[in-house]
Amino acid sequence: MSAVLLYALTGAGLFTLGLYALIIHAHLLRKILAINVMGSGVFLILVALGGRTAGAVPDVVPHAMVITGIVVAVSATALALALVLRVQAATGRAELPEEPLE
């Protein structure tokens, strides 16, 4: 098993884990964390796959992508956190209501 594949599998594992957590946990903060874990998984895969040609200089394009992705993820997380605060202020709970909107 090559290192690349190991990284990729770890990334996929992180992604699945995050997905699982996203679905299971009700608290919004945990959901946001779960999404961030998923994001890390994807970035890991991207970076790992960048080194597909063994020995040679790794492809830089995936790295650029990852940086962009991280920027996006950070801003999205910031927005999400801000929203969580507002939701808590409005409803008193940091959870999404289960029943459909009337």
Binding site: F15, V61, L79, L101
Partner: protein, 486 residues
């Protein structure tokens, strides 16, 4: 002579406008309107050039693929830009009257940012750029939904944000797989390199799943009605008319250019889901007692139509689906605006208590009805043309069973639209206090509704625009390649 880079201006102008609005909140309206008009002008300029010179590719900063960012404009993206500009102008005018000052200084920057993201999305030539623009779009949209305040809007926004992030990550994973296998993210290059393999299947699955989630295809539509119904009216209009269409646009490009040889089964699956969406959304819409929720479920149903082209696969069907997309964008925007007017006027949007709105708010009600005509797909309207093309394509392909959801969906649409109109003509028991609705709000809705209607009479023009460039017309390169193969 140096050509004016309309493409770049289309992205930068609203972005700059958003910045300006953010920095000088007192001049929000001025900057906003200038940007809106400017974007309109840029779209016209780009359209003029496309008509003269065919599809355009523009390397930003002169870098070019694979490292630089390429912008690509063909008939398809031009049409999307035009519709965005039309709806955008309408929404801009509408929002002048809609928002009070405190909300306006939040709305305008976000809206211009959204516009910028949309334009960038439609002009992107590679799938990673599409990811970035998709994220930008999602963030702006979520913020706009949250603008309404209140528990409903905030939880809806939160749900929307989570869905958006999840979908984007799925999409990004797909992008990673494609890049890993073929070494490029440029759509045109990928189109040449891709061949069917498990990796491509996986990428397609992931990207489609993400995009379907964003396009709210049944059964992934759960987030849409609360978000669209609880947002402020201009935002609802934007979300229903444009934002969900953006992800469909990406799906369409991928499907047409990168994964054309994926076989029939996925297409059939999407078709079945689309049909289910049409029926489910229709029934749900009919059940609603609140106007905005009704319209939101109607969006779920109408999005289902778009997917009926996937199993048919013919260029005629794609064009029909696109035509439906265009007319739905205009009509649904008009409809949400009309609903906003009614909400403002009556102070509520309970359908059973509309109480002679038809007489007291005639322009709005005409807008609603005219938009409804297009949604139902009655002639003469853009919706009719699109439906006609899909029907014809289905019958020509011998897949007559797709006629059933098309027709049933139309009947359901008629049922829920006329339910509203019927109550709008009827006197309700209790008289209530009403508020004044500014003229600009009424006429903006009407203008968009009439545009949807007009789309039914000038069909040849958009259809010929679709012929420019890749998916339908085929560029010169493409034609040469095909000649060589045969």
């Amino acid at each position: 002579m140096q050509q004016i880079p309309w493409e770049v201006m289309l992205i930068l102008l609203p972005l700059a406008g958003a910045m300006a609005c953010f920095l000088w909140p007192r001049r929000t309206l001025l900057f906003g309107l200038i940007s809106a008009l400017g974007v309109g002008g840029c779209v016209a300029g780009l359209g003029w050039r496309l008509l003269e010179q065919g599809a355009q590719r523009y390397a930003v900063g002169g870098w070019g693929a694979p490292l630089g960012i390429d912008l690509y404009a063909d008939g398809l993206s031009l049409l999307m830009l035009i519709i965005t500009a039309l709806v955008g102008l309408g929404v801009s005018i509408y929002s002048i009257g809609y928002f009070e000052r405190r909300q306006a200084i939040l709305f305008w920057p976000l809206w211009l940012l959204l516009w910028s993201a949309l334009n960038a999305l439609f002009l992107s030539a590679d799938i990673f750029n599409l990811y970035v623009t998709l994220e930008l779009l999602g963030l702006a949209a979520v913020a706009l939904v949250a603008l309404a305040g209140g528990a409903n809007a905030l939880t809806a926004a939160m749900r929307y944000l989570l869905v958006n992030m999840l979908a984007s990550l799925c999409y990004l994973l797909g992008v990673a797989l494609l890049y890993h296998n073929f070494g490029s993210v440029d759509i045109a290059i990928l189109a040449q390199r891709v061949e069917a393999s498990p990796a491509v299947w996986a990428a397609m699955g992931l990207m489609s799943a993400g995009l379907l989630l964003k396009s709210a295809l049944f059964p992934l539509h759960f987030w849409l009605p609360p978000a669209h119904a609880s947002a402020p009216a201009p935002v609802s209009a934007l979300l229903s008319a444009l934002v969900v269409k953006a992800s469909f646009y990406i799906l369409l490009r991928l499907w047409l250019e990168i994964f054309p040889q994926t076989g029939a089964a996925p297409g059939q699956l999407l078709g079945v889901l689309g049909a289910a969406a049409v029926l489910w959304g229709g029934i749900q819409a009919l059940r609603q007692t609140r106007l905005k929720l009704l319209i939101a479920y109607s969006t779920v149903a109408q999005l289902g139509y778009l997917f009926l082209a996937f199993p048919l696969g013919s260029s005629f069907a794609w064009k029909g689906s696109l035509y439906l997309l265009l007319s739905h964008a205009l009509a649904k925007a008009a409809m949400f605006m009309a609903a906003g007017n009614i909400l403002r006027f009556c102070g509520h949007d309970r359908i059973a208590d509309l109480d002679r709105v038809a007489q007291r708010l005639p322009v709005t009600m005409i807008a609603f009805s005219v938009a409804g005509v297009s949604i139902v797909g009655l002639p003469p309207s853009g919706g009719f043309i699109g439906k006609w093309m899909l029907l014809e394509a289905a019958l020509r392909a011998g897949q007559w069973w797709w006629v059933i959801p098309l027709i049933l969906g139309g009947l359901l649409a008629a049922a829920y639209i006329f339910k509203v109109i019927g109550y709008a003509f009827t006197q309700a028991g209790v008289l209530r206090q009403t508020n004044k609705v500014p003229m600009s709000m009424e006429w903006a809705a009407l203008a968009l509704a009439l545009a949807a209607l007009l789309l039914g009479l000038v069909a040849l023009w958009p259809l010929s625009l679709m012929e420019i460039g890749l998916p339908f017309g085929g560029s010169e390169v493409d034609a040469i390649q095909r000649a060589e193969q045969s």
